[in-house]
């Protein structure tokens, strides 16, 4: 136990946890929204996120951004990459809903079947990315796609410059522009999603389906469409999270979604699954707890701290910190 070390570096650990917690929270929103509407844990959501990380890198390659890209050009490049990433992840999420869920729901399959379908889809998406080189060569496209499919099981790094400038200091810790961008962008996205659910007509539809699918369809809500939109929003948020994650971590690989997915799901449960604000709170609490725990006990205890915290909170509050479902959220 290194109490003195944690006290001395509290701000640094805290801000580090806050930044990563923002990424957890954005991904957690996807889990929580789908759960709220379908009572289904969409285990393939981690792969939706992973596709976003690749889309971020590929978008930057496509416009030729590299370490010499600076200033406004860099900001615009990253903004473009984020849009591409959101569109990609949103597309994958829609595809997932279409292929892996809708046929099952139509036939009235039990929830367990949909869950297994989600796990299967997760493997397929992850390995499709990990075997993209083999797939491309089978189709004879290897020379056309070149580096986009080369070394497909290895880490892929963000091509732009990653030295960030310190903007201001809090108690001796230099907060960089990256820290600010990640936290502000994540919170902005979450506020938008929250307001969308609370204030718009479609948002009201989502809440109605979450509360009672049968009655809402009697009242004229198109539940298929609502489910589709729920997946799309989750995908868009995961895509945004993917770009922020690349800024923070710097590289991705075909199985990058796995651990992050587990953590984001944990964040969703921690905050109360089905609850949007719960996902936000859960993400930040988890990120900060992990970071401080790693400082206190050593880096190898990081995940232990996160999951012990989860068990403790669920022991005392089985429905999570905010424990309120999507359907009960009031406008």
């Amino acid at each position: 136990m290194q109490f003195q070390y944690v006290l001395d570096n509290f701000v640094s650990l805290f801000v580090g946890g806050l930044v990563f917690g923002a990424v957890y929270a954005l991904v957690a929103l996807g889990y929580t929204m789908v759960y709220g509407v379908l009572q289904l844990i969409n285990f393939a959501h981690s792969e939706v996120f992973m596709f976003g990380t690749f889309a971020t890198v590929w978008a930057l390659w496509l416009i030729g951004a590299d370490t010499s890209t600076m200033g406004v050009a860099l900001v615009l490049s990253l903004a473009f990459a984020m849009v591409v990433s959101m569109v990609t992840s949103g597309g994958v999420a829609l595809l997932l809903e279409r292929v892996a869920y809708r046929p099952l729901l139509k036939r009235g399959a039990p929830r367990l079947v949909a869950l297994i379908s989600a796990i299967g889809a997760s493997f397929v998406l992850s390995e499709a990315m990990g075997l993209r080189g083999a797939i491309a060569s089978a189709l004879g496209l290897e020379s056309v796609l070149g580096r986009y499919v080369a070394r497909s099981r290895e880490n892929l790094g963000l091509p732009t410059d990653r030295t960030f400038t310190v903007q201001f200091e809090i108690f001796g810790y230099g907060v960089t522009n990256r820290d600010i961008i990640i936290v502000v962008a994540a919170v902005l996205m979450m506020v938008l999603a929250d307001q969308f659910i609370r204030r718009t007509r479609t948002g009201r539809g989502i809440r109605a389906v979450a509360q009672d699918p049968e009655t809402s369809s009697l009242m004229g809500v198109n539940s298929t469409r609502v489910i589709q939109i729920t997946f799309l929003i989750g995908g868009l948020l995961a895509g945004a999270a993917a770009t922020l994650y690349m800024l923070q971590v710097g590289a991705t690989r075909y199985n990058a979604g796995f651990i992050l997915g587990v953590k984001a799901f944990t964040a969703a449960v921690l905050g109360g699954i089905g609850n949007l604000r719960g996902a936000l709170l859960g993400g930040f609490v988890l990120g900060i707890a992990e970071s401080l725990g790693a400082g206190l006990f050593g880096g190898e205890w990081r995940s232990v701290v996160a999951f012990v915290l989860l068990v403790l909170i669920l022991l005392f509050r089985p429905t999570g910190l905010l424990g309120e479902s999507l359907g009960k959220a009031r406008a």
Partner: protein, 383 residues
């Protein structure tokens, strides 16, 4: 290099494909040998079959392919010099997995035509199959298995032409004191390889170590480690682990404001390190008991293999050469070839090669490979 067993998400498909490939290789090799035996003539029947044991597919395939290409180059040059001598190298693909290596090794041991083995490649598969080779009296020369304990099993057949992990740590200390580093932070990845190497480096550096931290294989966010490094004010970092984590770690250290030296070991000596880290990798130094290829070797290798030599290419070449020279010297059965390797005493492309009674190579040289402008440059011996 010790590699922990990877859990395969696509185990079924890949295993089937791997076994099918291995089976094809075996059949082809057998045929070649039969023809060779008939064609041999001149002073004594000069023929033999060698086996390569190690990964050719799977997550660590690159290292195995480097070794195979090195040994193929040795074979080509040997056949040019000795056209009457018919030798083939059969390839057995273990995917670097001890569980897959065991049945293949039973097959090798049962095939009396095979008189020498290049490999096994990784420490895990070497540990799993060592007793079988020892029992059969089939000589093995590993270009790359570096776990120190392997030599302590009393297997007469075990040899390696690379320094073990214990030899790397003192060299790291020599290098760091050579550049007058005053404070070093040591990070390991909790794997068998990383923890062993990390502990060795900490011990060798003594008072210079200002802090240690452990990360996990598969982790992607190293924020707490970056905080710990910055808080310690270290001038240099040594990371004992593999290139996948090393790439992420160095890039997060750089963006976290650390501007000291980043060092790592043979687990990081792979283009994947630079690919993941980008410009952040520049200025890093990687240590490895493996020797870089000189220009002459690189040119011959590139012509033969169609790609530049990589980690363990030169060691693969040397391992094959020891066995090939034994065959041309007339050691055509397992017992006499084992005797030949035990008494071997000659220069290879990597170093002067001579084995002690445990199978360790007598001369060990550790090289420091600098990384500049996105490329791993040729290593310089650490003295």
């Amino acid at each position: 290099m010790t590699r922990s067993t990877t859990i395969w998400r696509t185990a079924g498909l890949l295993t089937a494909a791997g076994l099918a490939l291995a089976a094809c290789g075996t059949t082809g090799g057998d045929g070649g040998n039969g023809d060779g035996g008939d064609g041999g003539d001149g002073g004594g029947d000069c023929a033999g079959v060698l086996a390569y044991v190690g990964p050719l597919t799977g997550p660590a395939a690159n290292l195995g392919i480097n070794i195979v290409n090195g040994s193929k180059l040795a074979l080509e040059q040997f056949q040019e010099a000795n056209p009457d001598c018919e030798v083939t190298i059969e390839e057995f693909d273990t995917q670097g997995d001890p569980a897959q290596a065991s049945p293949l090794v039973s097959e090798i041991v049962g095939n009396d035509d095979i008189i020498g083995v290049i490999g096994p490649t990784f420490s895990g598969e070497t540990a799993a199959t060592g007793p079988v080779f020892a029992e059969a009296g089939l000589v093995t020369v590993s270009p790359s298995a570096t776990n120190p304990d392997l030599a302590l099993n009393g297997w007469d057949t075990f040899h390696r032409i690379i320094g073990n992990d214990d030899t790397q740590a003192p060299a790291v200390a020599t290098y760091l004191t050579g550049i007058d580093a005053q404070s070093v932070f040591v990070i390991d990845d909790a794997s068998e390889y990383g923890a062993g190497l990390g502990a060795g480096v900490v011990e060798a550096l003594g008072d210079l170590v200002v802090g240690t931290e452990t990360i996990q294989v598969g982790d992607t966010d190293f924020g707490p480690a970056v905080t710990a490094v910055n808080a310690s004010g270290a001038e240099a970092i040594y990371f004992a682990g593999y290139y996948a984590e090393a790439g992420l770690l160095v890039s997060q250290l750089r963006s976290g404001g650390y501007d000291g030296l980043f060092m790592s070991g043979d687990g990081t000596l792979d283009p994947g390190f630079v690919e993941a880290a980008g410009a952040a990798a520049d200025g890093s130094v990687l240590t490895c008991p493996c020797a870089p290829a000189d220009d002459e070797f690189a040119a011959a290798y590139e012509e033969s293999a169609g790609q530049a030599p990589g980690t363990y290419s030169t060691e693969g070449y040397d391992a094959a050469n020891i066995l090939l020279q034994g065959i041309v010297d007339g050691n055509l059965d397992r017992a006499s070839l084992l005797e030949w390797v035990n008494n071997y005493d000659a220069d290879g492309v990597t170093k002067h090669i001579q084995f002690d009674e445990t199978g360790e190579v007598a001369e060990v040289v550790v090289y420091a490979y600098p990384v500049e402008s996105g490329e791993i440059l040729l290593g310089e011996p650490i003295e």
